[in-house]
Amino acid sequence: MNPFEEFVRYESRRRFLSRCANAAGWATLASIVPHKVFGRESAGAPVLVGPHFPPKAKQVIYLHMVGGPSQMDMYDYKPVMQEWYDKDLPDSVRMGQRLTTMTSGQKRFPIAPSKFKFARHGKCGMWVTELLPWTSKIVDDLCFIRSMHTEAINHEPAISYIQTGNQVTGRPCLGSWASYGLGSLNSDLPTFVVLVAKPTNTEQIQAISARLWSAGYLSGEHAGVSFRSGGDPILYINNPDGVPTSVRRQTLDGLKALNEIAYKSVGDPETHTRIQQFELAFRMQASVPELTDLASEPESTFALYGDEARKPGTFAHTALLSRRLVERGVRFVQVYLNNWDHHGNVGGRLPMQCKDIDQATYGLITDLKRRGLFDSTLVIWGGEFGRTIYSQGGLTKDNYGRDHHPRCFTWWMAGGGTKGGVIYGETDDFSYNIIRDPVHIRDFHATVLHLLGFDHQRFTFRYQGLDQRLTGVIEESRVVKELLA
């Protein structure tokens, strides 16, 4: 049997089983199950989406660095800039590019070379900042893109663009597309989970809201379910005070019996769907606390991710939770870490940000490898744009600020069918313009969808009369083959 058929057979069976248990909540179950069983809304749903070819990445962990990390202080090493300290950015480099109103009034654009030391690491020889000693050890597992670019220069449109393919909000994000296309692997947990990590420093926080993980025009079940770091991980997951599980079970049994009586007299199939939803809710009440309870993790886990992983809400804790979610079959885990918007004090703030992510990132990649999940799990790291080589505000050798820069920034991927140790794309000496192999965020989306088993041009949803795509209806994009294993 060829591997694709095998995959489809396996996947369909799994999907069928999980969706039956799952009912309409988490997956497009109606696509397989005849509408007799499920309700009217479901009955109108489209046919099975499914992948176009066997996916390399079955699951995704997407670490979004909110605010736009400074590429030339972390991954895009520009030694020549040391000689340019406090000199003006040549007009020939800037080429009249639009600036945010935060620096467009500046009289000068003095160059701020990175104050941090860089060294080469791994077989691939990737230059990495001294601020990421742990990440430096795994560069051969990562696939770097130093030539990402976008058109948006402010956070709201930029983050929306990079997550939904459109600067205007209201479109489904990558996680929703994955849920829509691939469905669920787990009957007791959501398909698409969102975790918002809290940075140590919070001086340059940007807005993050549910609109980023909304399903847009896709059906609401494909929206991300945000797990909270404080309080209940899922809203209303706990029984009221004074209601133990046994009592809840009793009331649900009675409820079911009464709903069956109603079904007998009215005959509305949706009643049966509802019975199943209540049962799934009951199972989630057991599985979610188990998921978030780290008591079963051995000491070695915390040695790997760092002690911070014990503290709910930290990036390290979130990274560990991501692994536990993937382990339990959650399709897409979206992580946000805020506070990368370093308009000022890069010297003071960047080390804190890097410390937040460094060991935990190393831990996550290493852990996924040890557990055999790395090859089927795609890990994505990056922010919504880069930062300028010229300083915003005052400039000293030790300190400077950097404004938003859409024309180049660095991302990396790992696992899930990507090629480790790749360093793709190149920027000019100023980390200002791309000189080789640009990757537009649409190209990136096309590549990720490819890894998930989809031809981005055929992976569509009919809305407002158009076959909508993550990569846009009319825009051009390409799969970046060089990044694939």
Binding site: T101, E156, A210, N239, D241, V247, T251, L258, G267, Q277
Partner: protein, 1065 residues
């Protein structure tokens, strides 16, 4: 006329077809002729029009297939469509071509025609290739209701259309629902609330023929009618209580929400309802209410993000308004045409921008200022203040007039007084006590300034040349330069527990600047910014008092910025309390509202660096600010002292000048001061003015505001934007309506008012249809056109095209009477059917699009919650007012909000605010009410004309566990125990009548008894659990009731509240 008939015939034929969700491609009997709209257009739209459709820019080979002239035009001796001759039609040749290079659609589109589709196109051409305009662009005419077999079933004309469809599908309508079911359904549909049990029983008993009509009329005249209808409208209007973008701060918008409710309750005809919302501000003799209505166009999301580009957002706002209006009144997805000609509908990019011009002419600015009352706004007094409001305005005008008159008359008295006035007296009024530094900085030349420090006069020499410019309280003033601060080592060295004050006259060089004017602060690396400064932060003056920044420091500024280029007296006082509350900032002697950024000072603030003017020890300076009369006091000055300081320095200077040296402006300044201080009549008028101003202010304060539309002076216009990008302007265009729709009448103004009247004109094909379809959807769950917001080519065809037209005409000709329309619907036999369904109907009419049974679907989140509160007797009936914050799990706002947002922390209300109807819940766009969002409530970022209706486990968790549902269940249980008789059966029955509006059946009662038995057993054995359970929620359980008993009934009520039948209407 022929075309109309064809369309009608086509519509009838549609009903003959077997129905499976879509009506477009179903197989048709061989004998029936092919119809363009029904059979051909869908195939073209799906496969061809993306390249050969209305979009001129994307069109391939210059060929357009959806219009007769273009499709049949001969080009190079051939035509795509040759009427009556498929073989010669290029269209047919290409879709059947064996050559893959020639085959259409091309393989790159990943589309392929099915054999039946090819056959349809061939037959259509063979039959003569008749084209039709898209159905929804042809104005509706009232069709005759069809004849039906089962005449006795028909109650209203609506029923003939419905029954016709049911009979043609070979089905029978369902029997009428029983009286209790129908009472519950109609109460929920007209008021959003369950019926009172006694009303249900009265209806059951009332055997008169008018019983049902009476019931309906009662609900239509209740105040809850307006709340319920309004709630649907607020989704379309994208009403919310925050701005939406970035900070997502509070927007005080609820007067618009209350207008909507009142408008439905007053049964404002829908044409007026429309015109007032789209153009209330432009109506002649507009009322306050009409202005409030114009808030419809102020509900869109706005931003104040630093760095955002104004033009980009102005374009987005206009686009949102245009798309919203298009969705709500035209049922068109105009958004597609922002970047290119609409791919499928006859809306060109130019037409989109012409239409957008109507909404592109507002005085509203791009940045919302993060404030709750972004201009343009108007004050909305409370209703009890309306009378005084009018009177006070008059009094203010009168007092103002008196002041003006006196100002003209008293000049002689002033002129006589002036030579006798002494400057010394003014100077003496300046506070001297505790002054530790005074630097007049009026030298006007040289490189040194004289300062008075600790009683000693010293000369301070600057490192670099000082620039001087004319002064405000002395001849000259010093210009700060950050590369050469003036330093005074012995001045300003205070401890954190010591009170001190400082200030100066300043003139800032530019708006929005940031830096320290003067400071005693150590900002060298690693010193933690210890000390204090007089700072300007984005134009806002204030101070840092720091031990170690940022964790051990105070930062306070005013909320208002200093106007650049204008002399301003700036003064800061600190009381030594180490608290931000101990800091006050004064501008021109007036105390300012404070903006507190840090309030965590604990450690010492002593530092050895000197007091420096122009910057801190090394950085953060201000270049080019004029500064004069800098003073530091080692104590707190009171408000009056600060005023004396301001007047003493300024007036003293003006008076000390020789008369001939005073400018006319300076003389007027003195005259104004004299009038207030020394002229009794002026002072009397001024006092009156102040007092009425205060009253006006108080009325404004306790009232609310309305965000309104305000037209700019010029004619409305917009630019065509290349690919919709704000900075790629092409041609300017004037406001106009799309060509495919009737023209804007010549006598109408080309503004929003003309546009709104155009929408409501009788020949408009869309507005009435789209509106009745939305109303239909509210009651039946699905519109006659399922795609409520898309009546274009790609939208779904109507299930009952003739009924839709009939209703549209009926609605318009009734004078757009909304209540009458709903009465027509809910009195129909179709509406009153039982929802029971069997295999036959599930097979032939699975989605109930034929209305072969009564409507039954899960209620919206607001209704589910309102029903629980009503059943528990908790619901507060108050109408309108500021939005409320009921129970919500902790951290829902905090998780998404920016630290600077004023809607970051959710502080829930207590008492009444917990139990208001769902439409009054505070709507934060970045985090909509959690429990309602789970039930598919939209986030109100954009216009929503159709909510989704999913069925998920998260919803189950809400109704099982949310405190508001548990508390409602306990209150319902409590009422059952007190008022529901003594037996388990009578009490369960009490609960059921409030949730289901009916008694329980025998079989159900058995289940309930078993549940109750198990629950009683548990709570009798576990009294602690019982106590905990009945303590849930803010309302207190009656202590006289047995806790275990109450807990058991609480869980029983909780169980019944989660019944599928309860969640459905």
């Amino acid at each position: 006329m022929k075309r109309r008939l064809d369309a009608r015939l086509a519509a009838l034929l549609v009903l003959l077809l077997p129905l499976l969700g879509t009506f477009s491609n179903a197989a048709e009997p061989k004998s029936s002729p092919i119809r363009f709209n029904r059979d051909v257009r869908p195939i073209l739209a799906e496969n061809c029009l993306a390249c050969h459709g209305p979009d001129g820019l994307g069109r391939k080979a210059g060929l357009r297939l959806d219009r007769e002239a273009e499709a049949t035009a001969e080009r190079k001796g051939a035509a795509a469509v040759v009427k009556g001759d498929p073989a010669r039609s290029l269209l047919v040749q290409r879709i059947k071509s064996p050559d893959p290079k020639k085959l259409m659609p091309p393989s790159s589109t990943k589309k392929m025609l099915k054999p039946r589709e090819i056959e349809t196109l061939e037959r259509w051409i063979a039959e003569g290739a008749h084209f039709e305009a898209h159905w929804s662009f042809i104005a509706p005419e009232r069709p005759p209701p069809p004849a039906v077999k089962n005449e006795s079933w028909v109650k209203t004309p609506v029923d003939r259309f419905i029954l016709d469809g049911i009979e043609r599908a070979g089905l029978q309508p369902a029997p009428e629902a029983d009286r209790r079911t129908i009472a519950r359904r109609v109460s929920l549909d007209l008021t959003g609330l369950p019926p009172k049990p006694e009303d249900v029983e009265a209806f059951v008993e009332d055997r008169s023929p008018e019983a049902y009509e009476k019931l309906v009329d009662g609900y239509l005249s209740s105040k809850q009618w307006g709340e319920h209808r309004g709630r649907y409208w607020l989704d379309a209007a994208r009403y919310a209580d925050t701005h939406g973008i970035h900070f997502d701060n509070l927007r005080e918008m609820w007067s618009y929400r209350d207008w909507v409710i009142a408008a439905f309750n007053r049964n404002v005809p829908f044409d007026r309802f429309t015109i007032e919302q789209l153009a209330g501000d432009l109506l002649p003799n507009r009322t306050l209410d009409q202005q409030i209505a114009s808030g419809f166009n102020r509900c869109n999301m706005t931003t104040n993000e630093g760095g955002a580009i104004d033009e980009e957002y102005l374009v987005l706002y206009t686009r949102d308004r245009t798309e919203t209006v298009a969705q709500v009144w035209l049922g068109l997805t105009a958004g597609c045409a922002t970047c290119h000609d609409h791919k499928f509908d006859p809306l060109t990019q130019r037409e989109f921008y012409e239409m957008s011009a109507f909404f592109n002419n507002t005085t509203q600015r791009a940045m919302d200022g993060n404030i709750k009352d972004t201009p343009p706004i108007v004050s909305v007094p409370r209703s009890e203040d309306h009378e005084r409001w009018e009177a006070v305005q008059g009094e203010i005008a009168r007092a103002h007039g008196d002041m003006d008159a006196r100002r003209k008359a008293a000049r002689g008295d002033f002129d006589r007084w002036l030579p006798t006035a002494g400057a010394d007296a003014m100077a003496r009024s300046i506070p001297k006590d505790g002054m530790s530094l005074h630097a007049p900085m009026t030298e006007g030349q040289g490189q040194a300034v004289s300062v008075d420090v600790g009683g000693q006069t010293r000369l301070i020499t600057a490192a670099k040349e000082i620039a001087w410019e004319p002064g405000h309280v002395g001849a000259s003033s010093l210009k700060t330069r950050q590369d050469a601060g003036l330093t005074v080592p012995e001045a300003g060295n205070f401890g954190k527990d010591q009170a001190f004050s400082f200030g100066a006259w300043v003139k800032l060089p530019a708006p929005g600047i940031t830096g320290s004017l003067f400071a005693r602060m150590d900002d060298r690396e690693g010193k933690g910014f210890r000390g204090w400064d007089c700072v300007i932060d984005g134009g806002r003056p204030g101070t840092h008092i720091i031990s170690n920044w940022p964790q051990d420091a105070i930062k306070v500024t005013s909320t208002e910025a200093i106007e650049a280029g204008r002399w301003t007296h700036l003064f800061v006082t600190y009381d030594g309390s180490a608290k931000a509350a101990g800091v006050n900032v004064y501008l021109n002697g007036r105390r300012q509202e404070r903006r507190i950024k840090n309030d965590s000072l604990k450690g010492p603030i002593f530092t050895s660096v000197p007091l420096t003017v122009g910057r801190r020890e090394v950085g953060s300076g201000v270049d080019g600010a004029a500064i004069q009369d800098l003073r530091i006091y080692s104590r707190t000055l009171g408000g009056e002292e600060v005023q004396s300081l301001v007047r003493g320095t300024r007036d003293g200077w003006l008076l000390s000048k020789p008369a001939e040296a005073r400018s006319p402006e300076e003389l007027n300044e003195l005259y104004d001061r004299w009038l207030i201080a020394l002229d009794p009549s002026f002072r009397e008028a001024s006092t009156r003015f102040d007092s009425f101003e205060r009253e006006r202010g108080a009325i404004v304060e306790r009232g609310t505001i309305a965000h309104v539309m305000q037209e700019r002076g010029e004619d409305a216009m917009a630019y065509i934007l290349f690919r919709g990008e704000y900075d790629k302007r092409r041609d300017p265009v004037k406001s106009d309506t799309p060509d495919a729709l009737p023209p804007l009448p010549m006598n109408e103004p080309r503004n929003r008012l003309g546009f709104a009247r155009w929408l409501m004109s009788p020949e408009h094909p869309l507005a009435a249809r789209v509106t009745v379809n939305r109303f239909w959807q509210e009651v039946f769950g699905t519109g006659l056109v399922k795609t409520t917001g898309d009546f274009g080519t790609m939208g779904e065809q109507p299930s009952h095209p003739e009924l839709l037209d009939w209703l549209a005409v009926e609605f318009r000709e009734s004078g757009w009477d909304v209540k009458r329309f709903f009465k027509l619907i809910v009195t129909s036999a179709a509406y009153r059917q039982s929802a029971q369904v069997g295999p036959e109907k599930l097979g032939k009419d699975p989605l109930n699009r034929l209305l072969s049974r009564g409507p039954r679907f899960r209620m919206d989140g607001e209704m589910v919650r309102d029903l629980a509160l009503a059943a528990g007797g908790l619901l507060v009936g108050k109408i309108g007012g500021p939005s409320v914050k009921p129970y919500q799990p902790d951290g829902v706002w905090e998780a998404v909000a920016m630290p600077e947002s004023n809607t970051k922390a959710y502080r829930r209300d207590t008492g009444e605010g917990l139990y208001r109807r769902g439409l009054y819940t505070f709507w934060k766009r970045a985090a909509p009410p959690a429990s309602m969002e789970i039930f598919n409530a939209p986030n109100r970022e954009l216009c929503t004309v159709r909510r989704e209706r999913t069925n998920t486990p998260l919803q189950a968790l809400v109704t099982l566990n949310d405190v508001q549902f548990v508390e409602a269940a306990r209150n319902l249980a409590e009422r059952a125990l007190k008022e529901g008789g003594e037996t388990a059966a009578s009490r369960a029955d009490f609960i059921a009548r409030r949730l289901l509006s009916r008694p329980l059946g025998v079989e159900e009662m058995a289940v309930v008894r078993a549940s109750l038995g198990a629950l009683s057993k548990h709570y009798a054995a576990n009294p602690e659990d019982a106590k905990k359970l009945i303590a849930v929620g803010e309302s207190k359980a009656d202590p006289k009731l047995d806790a275990s008993l109450l807990a058991s009934y609480t869980m029983l009520a909780n169980q019944l509240m989660n019944l599928d039948e309860v969640l459905n209407k």
